[in-house]
């Protein structure tokens, strides 16, 4: 066997070993793996955004006021912003609290209304009542006033839907409400139709201002 033959055998041997190895390693970078990482990041981003909101509420409980605060949690950037919107009837200060977390390719933002009741004499534990937690994946910049306004408007659409629902409940008698809900059973998937009478009972019991 001459040198050319030996070289050929070495090359063939390397190919026989390296081929499967390269194929095997390249599969680890497949789309499924990347997708799993993508959703892991999404979950982490949402969790950190939620932590940002909780940090904002804790800040108000500790007597904090308007401002924008930054930090990192588990390597993810988080920001929360306390935006005063006025005074309530019980002299409480009203705030819109925005929380946001960003990671490469992901963003999550929350918005909640808060009422801060100052305690007299001042102590670290102010009473803070939060209302209407709302979240979005839209890339709002919560440090930019027009984006904050857009976020409030987007949430306002959902709040209007809630108002309509409550107005319907208030304006309907229990009997009419039950009839409306019961009529939906025929259009429901089998899995839900089976429990719908029980669900209707709960809905009727919880109806706003239960009229006879």
């Amino acid at each position: 066997m001459n040198r050319r033959g030996i070289a050929l055998m070495v090359v063939l041997g390397l190919l026989a070993v390296m081929g499967p190895l390269v194929f095997f390693l390249s599969s680890f970078g497949s789309s499924q793996t990347r997708q799993a990482v993508h959703y892991h990041e999404r979950l982490s981003t949402e969790a950190v955004a939620w932590s940002a909101i909780e940090a904002g509420i804790a800040n108000l409980q500790g007597g904090g006021g308007a401002g924008t605060y930054n930090g990192t949690i588990q390597g993810l950037q988080m920001t929360y912003s306390l935006n005063p919107t006025g005074m309530g009837m019980a002299s409480q200060t009203l705030y819109n609290v925005f929380g946001r977390s960003t990671s490469p390719g992901q963003q999550y933002a929350f918005l909640v209304n808060c009422e801060q009741y100052p305690v007299s004499p001042p102590t670290p534990g102010n009473l803070v009542i939060p209302h209407h937690f709302w979240g979005t994946l839209q890339p709002f910049d919560i440090t930019y006033a027009p984006d904050c306004l857009s976020m409030e408007n987007a949430r306002g659409v959902d709040l209007l839907a809630l108002e309509q629902t409550r107005a319907y409940e208030l304006g309907t008698t229990q009997i009419a409400y039950r009839a409306e809900m019961t009529a939906k059973q025929a259009q429901l998937p089998a899995e839900l139709a089976a429990i719908w009478p029980s669900v209707t009972d709960v809905l009727v019991a919880q109806k706003s201002c239960p009229n006879p």
Binding site: M1, E46, F133, W134, Y168, E169, T172, E191, L192, Q206
Partner: protein
């Protein structure tokens, strides 16, 4: 190089030499091949697990995203003795006050979502399932205020459990 060695190289390979060479090559390929297929089996199993995790994470994320900002769990309800209750269906009022339902369809191994207007209007089932390839799903209500629920999904012998508190009134 001596003249004898040079002659030996030029005469070519005998049948026995080729047989020995082929045998060595076959042994090496056998070792490499068995390693390759063992690794590939492991990798396929790993991918199946990753896909299951991925499917469940996606489904769980979609469910929790809506439930978290919801208002009230309607179904399941606590048992009469106030003990937790589990069901394969969950019905609650979402942020907008609509009645949202997530339910497991065993025959299709899917989790689906149905939105039911809290007033006039027809129920609408989402055209695409929330989760596919799910072996089981259960929802357990755990608090007397009907605002704490745990979601348990299983697929490919893996279980994902998360608990959510509905934060809105």
């Amino acid at each position: 190089m001596s003249r004898d060695t040079d002659r030996m190289l030029r005469r070519g390979a005998t049948f026995v030499e080729i047989l020995v060479g082929a045998a060595i090559f076959a042994v090496i390929m056998g070792i490499v091949g068995s390693w390759f297929f063992a690794q590939k089996r492991q990798q396929e199993q790993f991918l199946r697990i990753t896909e299951s995790q991925d499917r469940m994470q996606q489904a769980l994320w979609k469910i929790i995203q809506e439930v978290k900002t919801g208002r009230q769990i309607i179904w399941p309800r606590l048992n009469a003795d106030k003990s937790p209750r589990t069901d394969s269906r969950m019905v609650f009022k979402n942020f907008r006050g609509e009645i949202a339902a997530y339910y497991y369809v065993p025959s299709a191994r899917e989790i689906r979502r149905c939105l039911i207007p809290n007033g006039p209007g027809l129920p609408v089932v989402d055209p695409t399932p929330i989760g596919r390839g799910i072996d089981g799903a259960s929802f357990t209500v755990m608090a007397v205020d009907n605002k704490l629920i745990s979601v348990n999904l299983s697929a490919n012998r893996l279980h994902f459990v998360d608990a959510v508190r509905l934060v809105n009134e």
